[in-house]
Symmetry: C2
Subunit: 350 residues, 2 copies
């Protein structure tokens, strides 16, 4: 069976990637997160819907993203902003997501966003867009709503305490999980730990500002890759021991045995097996250069020994004279003999 036939007719398309952005993505300089979103949405073929329902700002929030996405090469950008559950049931809103290749949900109040879109035809249309391969991105509130369980609101602090945050239902694009954003900047370790202590079947994901967790489905595994300036922090509470079911009022919680993963740009993490995907060892360029040089020297040594039975000390002197000459060649200087040979030898022995 030729693969073309297979993919063209029978097979389901792979669901599109999720981009879970921790807020305050760089809009002025590197713009690495927003660039990646436009690229993933099809670059010059990208048709992007901006959903600004969470935001308290007027049309200006959409104008900013419209200008940015067009500047980054998108073919078309539309604003789709239901403001009530009635509108989220309106076929014209649903229809406007039908042929987009990317959806971008802005920041703001995630509880407002989920109150308007969750469990509506519009919410279903976001799922449907992903199912046919569109990218679903969201920043801050637009990140929070992507998980099955959503941080509604809460307070900062590193130590988990009973009742420091409230959970509501999210869109469930990312299953069995809870996402928090502005993670480093607003010190949200504690509240995410509180949630996974109370719900240890969930994976906790904290995303820093100007950072995105990009989740794709590969061989039935959800695989996450990190891009941007900060890190994505994962709490895996599979083996937690906790007193969250009996801790009183605002007491600090016992949360023992949580496995923690802090994942900077370039990291790859299998959310299904909850494990780091090993990366290829990075090669240090200076070290690589040195080992190539050394190999060349050794071959020369073998030739020298074969030719005239040179001793190692004679060979070292020769090698250093050669390197000295090479350095002067690079600098455009004539290969002088200013340095006495024994000095050069000492340097060569380092």
């Amino acid at each position: 069976m030729p693969p073309e036939w297979d993919s063209a007719s029978q097979q389901q398309p792979a669901p599109g990637p999720l981009m879970i952005i921790g807020g305050a993505e760089d809009k002025l300089r590197r713009r690495s997160v927003l660039k990646r979103f436009v690229e993933a949405s099809g670059g010059p073929d990208a048709r992007i819907a901006v959903i600004a329902t969470a935001s308290s700002l007027g049309p200006e929030i959409v104008e900013v993203y419209d200008a940015l996405f067009r500047k980054l090469g998108a073919a078309d950008v539309v604003s789709v902003r239901p403001e009530s559950r009635d509108q989220a049931h309106d076929p014209s809103y649903v229809e406007s997501l039908r042929d987009v290749t990317g959806i971008f949900m802005t920041g703001g109040n995630q509880l407002k966003l989920s109150a308007v879109v969750s469990g509506t035809p519009f919410g279903d249309a976001i799922h449907a867009a992903r199912a046919r391969g569109a990218v679903i991105a969201g920043t801050s509130a637009g990140a929070s709503i992507q998980s099955s369980h959503m941080v509604a609101f809460g307070v900062g602090g590193a130590t988990p305490k009973q009742r420091m945050t409230q959970v509501a239902a999210g869109l469930g694009l990312l299953t069995e999980s809870v996402v928090d954003q502005h993670f480093d900047q607003r010190n949200r370790y504690g509240r995410l730990l509180m949630i996974v202590s109370q719900s240890p079947q969930l994976l906790g994901m904290g995303v820093d500002e100007d950072t995105a967790a990009v989740v794709t489905v590969e061989d039935d595994h959800e695989v996450m890759r990190v891009i941007g300036r900060g890190a994505v922090t994962i709490f895996d509470p599979s083996r937690i021991v906790t007193n969250a079911f009996e801790a009183k009022r605002s007491a600090p919680l016992l949360a023992s045995g949580v496995v923690l993963h802090v994942l900077p740009e370039g990291s790859e993490f299998d959310l299904t097996t909850r494990s780091l995907v090993p990366s290829h060892q990075r090669v240090d360029e200076a070290e690589a250069h040195e080992i190539i040089e050394a190999g060349r020297d050794l071959r020369q040594l073998a030739r020298d020994i074969a030719a005239d039975d040179a001793s190692p000390s004679v060979w070292r002197r020769r090698r250093n004279r050669r390197r000295h000459a090479a350095v002067h060649d690079e600098l455009g200087d004539p290969p002088g003999d200013a340095a006495p040979p024994h000095t050069v030898d000492q340097e060569g022995d380092r």
Copy 2:
């Protein structure tokens, strides 16, 4: 061999407890941490040395602790404050620690404290005091210096980044570890994670304000118990995967697979095996009362059945009449028959 003889002559005394206090211990209200220190130091027999070398304050810092410890029942409090390595070599300073039962190191600058006392006869005298059973307590800077590796200074933030903190050598009362303090309040997750990423043989311990990690040696294990208002956070990097050896400049670090333990008051943790000591299940009083009641009812049921072969419905009516009467007895009311029997029965079936 009688135990008296054994302990009096041959056997080494157990080393005294360490009290690692996260700073800002309550000095006005509950004072649970300071109370525990005075008790552990012998209560009415306590002879306490206050070491204020870390502090930038004058004699007033010592006066505060002097007043507090005496008020909490200590027999004697002395100030021992070497201000230079010369003084830390001076036999009179060393001598003043000879017969204390508790040592309290104040907050301030831990690098100054370690610069003055580490590796001096005075530093040795602190170790010697512990070896003969004295309590060694310290708050903030006085907590940091107790571990083998010490956070010298650094910045806050939840995400570990290269170079966000500096490590120096501590007194090493707590081995193979690094302590950080004001942990929740100053958001020091990131810097402690950075340190254990670079030194995965160390256990990271973050202590919140008004909270103490009390470490005792029991059967050659270091066992930690938590007291106070906050929590003690442990990072166990035994199985870490990290890029700390190659991450550039101030980049976020990869720190995958760190096992995290957040431990509130009452928690017990074996630092040697790096595992939580299971606590006894707490019993809910209402639930306990109910099961005792149920047992009483069942015994009565058995007697009723033996006496007159009562059916379960007859028994339920009787039981409820009995309970009804008992409630009215407690309230001082006469046992009325106001409620019709079937209503009472329904309640009994709940």
